[in-house]
Structure formats: C-alpha cells, structure tokens
C-alpha cells in the first residue's frame, strides 16, 4: 500500500520536474547530484561550518568546566548551543576598520584568502570510504601543501597591518613555522613509508588490522605536537599571545575580517584532528554496529576519533601555560626532528622484519 503511494508521489514529482522551464530543471537536478552533495553538504561546506560551530561551543564549555564555570548558557535551547550564531552576528555588526597606515589591498584580501584556503584542506580529506570531494593519489601531499601555504597569508596580513604588535606576532609566527614544519613533514613521511602510498584512502585501508599509532608511536607524538603548533593552540600560541601582544598578528583586524580569521583557525584545528585520526588512529575502521549501514558507520567512527583528538587539544588550553620562543625553537630541532627521524628508522626496520 505505502509503496504504491510512494510510486504515485515519484511519478507526480517527475511530471512536475518535466513541466518546469529548462534552467530551473537543471538547477533542481544539480541540487541532488553527487557533485552538489559532496561539495556543499557532507564532506563540504555545511559539514565544515557545523563542525566548526560545534568545536567552538565545545571549547568554551570545556574550558568553563575546567575553570569551574558554567560557560555559554542562555542563547539557544540547550546549553547555549546557538551562542556562536549570536557572536557571529555581533562580530558582523562591528564596523570594518582599515587603519590609515595599513596597506589596504593586502589588508582587505588576506582574511578572505585565509578563510577560503583553510576550507580547501577539506577537499582532499576523505571522511569515509568514497566520502571525499576530490579523490587523488597524492592527497596527503596536497593537504600538506595547503597547510604550508596558509601561514603565508597570515604573515602578509601581519605585515600589511603596519602595527608594532602585528609585526612582532608575524615574526614570531615565521619562527614558529621554522620550528614545526620539518618535523611535521617527517612524521607524515613515516606514515607514507608504512602505507607505501600518498593516497589518504589507501593509508586508511592499510590500517585495517593495526592502526599506525602502534608501530609509529614516536611519530604520533611528534605529529600531535607539531599539529598543535601549526594551528597555534595554547602551548604554542606565541603569534597571538593575548597577554603580551594584545592579539598578535590580528590586533588591527575587526568585525568580519576578525571573524574570518577566527573561523579559519578552527577549520584548521578540525582538519588537523581529522588528519590525525586518518593517519594514526585507523581512520574509519571500527567495530561494526548491527543495523547501521557501512557508509554511515565509517564517517561516524572517524568523527568520533577526531573529536577525541580535539578534546585532547582543547584540554591543553586549560592546563598548560605558554612557552617562550627560544624554547619552541630549541624543541623543534633538538627533540622533534631527531625523534621524527628515529621514528622513520623504526618503521623502516619493522618493514624489514616484516611486522607491518
């Protein structure tokens, strides 16, 4: 009975679609095509924005609990879930100030570029078997390239503001890049050696039996530390040190520009968490739950694992103080690079023995 009604509805819908004028029909067909769903809805835009909103809410709530406060409470039905929307409206209604000494074209264009580029990381991150916007054989390298390009937009933004605080923050960011870029790259290289591929989907498939955190534990530690430095989270938030440099390289930015930089930072944090889950924690592999299809279960496990990583990273902000620049530079080459090289050696020896 119900199937008959459904068929009736489908026929009516098809008739309705055929009677529409041509461009409108094409548009509606595009709306439920694979391209649109992948680019805009699931691994794409809406998912990223929702995930980022959840991350920011989660951070504020978690930090509040660490400090025995309540955190956002009043906006939204449950526990201030819509606080972020209220904050965004507030930020958008602030006046857009361009300082008179700033280099205007660079100052105005860099927030847009930074936001868009950090969203582009998600184009190459698979969130499940087949759930990827652009499947590529070198997706890990593409992700690394975009991650390496985003600090440049921030450097230019700090330069173009022409303020002392922005300049100091920018120089600190440049030194931070010097310290974390190489160990980050080497930690990724050990994973490519273990999986013999740069394709993130193949890397996850290689972890079906054993997640790479076990053979490459040192690499995981190095990767996590450098990833936290990459997204400027608390032990390494020297460039935006609020207590010393007002707000570092984003001192002069207000309103929508600041909102874009804020968004970009959290998008990078989420991308890093998902990348950690993909490279070291076994990606979308997990125990199967009866009654739930495989195509939903994969993203579920991946997002759960990345939420655990995000929890860990956010907790650091409530617990650790900021370290100084010379210490960060020292750790970079004195500890992290030797550990990363040792990790590649261990992985190579394990492959030689035949354990991976």
């Amino acid at each position: 009975m119900s199937s008959l009604i459904l068929q009736e509805y489908a026929r009516a819908a098809a008739n309705f679609l055929n009677e529409l004028p041509h461009p409108l029909k094409d548009f509606i067909l595009f709306l439920h095509s694979d391209t649109f769903i992948k680019a805009i809805i699931f691994p794409g835009l809406l998912f990223i924005l929702t995930f980022v909103m959840f991350t920011i809410w989660f951070e504020r709530k978690l930090l509040a609990r660490v400090m025995v406060r309540l955190g956002p409470l009043h906006v939204g039905k449950y526990a201030g879930l819509l606080q972020l929307v209220a904050d965004a409206v507030k930020l958008l209604s602030k006046e857009l100030i361009v300082p008179e000494k700033a280099i205007k074209p660079l100052y105005v264009s860099m927030p847009i570029l930074c936001g868009a580029l950090s969203m582009l990381i998600f184009a190459f991150l698979p969130l499940g078997p087949g759930w990827v916007i652009y499947p590529s054989d070198i997706s890990l390298l593409l992700v690394f390239v975009i991650l390496a390009v985003t600090p440049i937009t921030i450097l230019v933004a700090g330069w173009a503001s022409r303020s002392k605080y922005s300049f100091i923050g920018m120089v600190r960011l440049a030194f931070q890049v010097f310290s974390y870029e190489v160990p980050f790259f080497l930690a990724i290289a050990s994973i490519t050696l273990a999986a013999r591929s740069f394709n993130l989907e193949k890397i996850v498939e290689a972890q079906a039996e054993l997640p790479f955190i076990i053979p490459a534990l040192l690499g995981f530690i190095v990767f996590l530390i450098t990833a936290i430095a990459e997204v400027e989270r608390v032990p390494f938030d020297l460039p935006t040190a609020e207590q010393e440099l007002v707000s570092g390289w984003q001192t002069e930015y207000t309103g929508a520009y600041f909102a874009l930089f804020y968004l970009a930072a959290y998008i990078k944090l989420d991308a890093m968490a998902i990348l950690t889950a993909l490279l070291f924690l076994g990606g979308w592999h997990g125990p199967s739950i009866p009654g739930i299809p495989e195509s939903i279960l994969g993203p579920f496990w991946l997002i759960l694992k990345s939420l655990i990583v995000i929890f860990l990273v956010l907790l650091l902000r409530g617990v650790f103080p900021r370290i100084t620049l010379d210490k960060l530079l020292d750790i970079g080459w004195r500890v992290l690079i030797p550990l990363a090289l040792l990790n590649i050696l261990i992985v190579a020896v394990l492959i030689q023995i035949g354990l991976i």
Binding site: L92, E95, E100, V171, T192, R196, I344
Partner: protein, 117 residues
C-alpha cells in the same frame, strides 16, 4: 565528475568568505571616528612606526631549518625510491640510521645556540 565537485567546493569556499565580508559591510555602521583609524597603541597616541628590529639572536635556527629542509626532501625522495624498488629498503634503512643518530649526536652536543646581542 570529481573535478566538478572540487571546482564547486573551491567556488563555494571563496563565496562564503566573501559573503562574510559583504555581510559585515552591510550590517556594520559606517561612521568611523578618526581615532579608530589610528594604529593600535595601548591607549597612547601612536608614535613613529619604523622597521622593527629582526630578532638576530635566533639566526642559527634559520640555518638549521634550511639544512633540515633539504634533508627532509632527501628523505622523501628516498621513500619514493622505496615505493618504486622495494629491494632498496635495506640501503634506505642504513641512510635513515645515519641521519637519525647523527641528528641525535648533534642535538646533544651543540649547546647555547641563542646569540647574545
């Protein structure tokens, strides 16, 4: 197919970022006072902005970064070699062992890198 998805996503990402700025322009109020346009200076009047000093005391770290950047590219190329020729793993392992232990040796023995200016 996937290229279309990528292009749609790139366009959408840039459009959302632009939309933020456009919404900001629409919603914000326009009268900006003269004092707000000045460079931020902790409640003071901004005084002369000159090229700030580059922290020269950290210069050795830049040299180390350059050296290790080249070495990391070498490691990557050797990994490509392993992908192509699996028998070469032994030689690459020896190379990695030399790299790892020499970097540990250097990092233990090279002290006091920050220059006092």
């Amino acid at each position: 197919m996937s290229v279309e998805a990528l292009l749609t996503f790139v366009v959408a990402a840039f459009l959302v970022s632009l939309l933020f700025v456009l919404l900001g322009m629409l919603l914000s109020h326009k009268r900006v006072k003269r004092t707000k346009v000045l460079t931020f200076e902790c409640g003071q009047k901004p005084f002369e902005w000159r090229m700030l000093q580059f922290p020269v005391q950290y210069f050795p770290y830049l040299l180390i970064y350059v050296v290790y950047a080249v070495i990391s590219i070498l490691v990557l190329v050797s990994l490509f070699y392993v992908f192509e020729v699996p028998d070469a793993l032994m030689r690459v392992t020896v190379f990695l062992a030399i790299l790892a232990f020499s970097s540990i040796f250097v990092s233990i023995n090279l002290k006091r890198l920050v220059q006092r200016v």
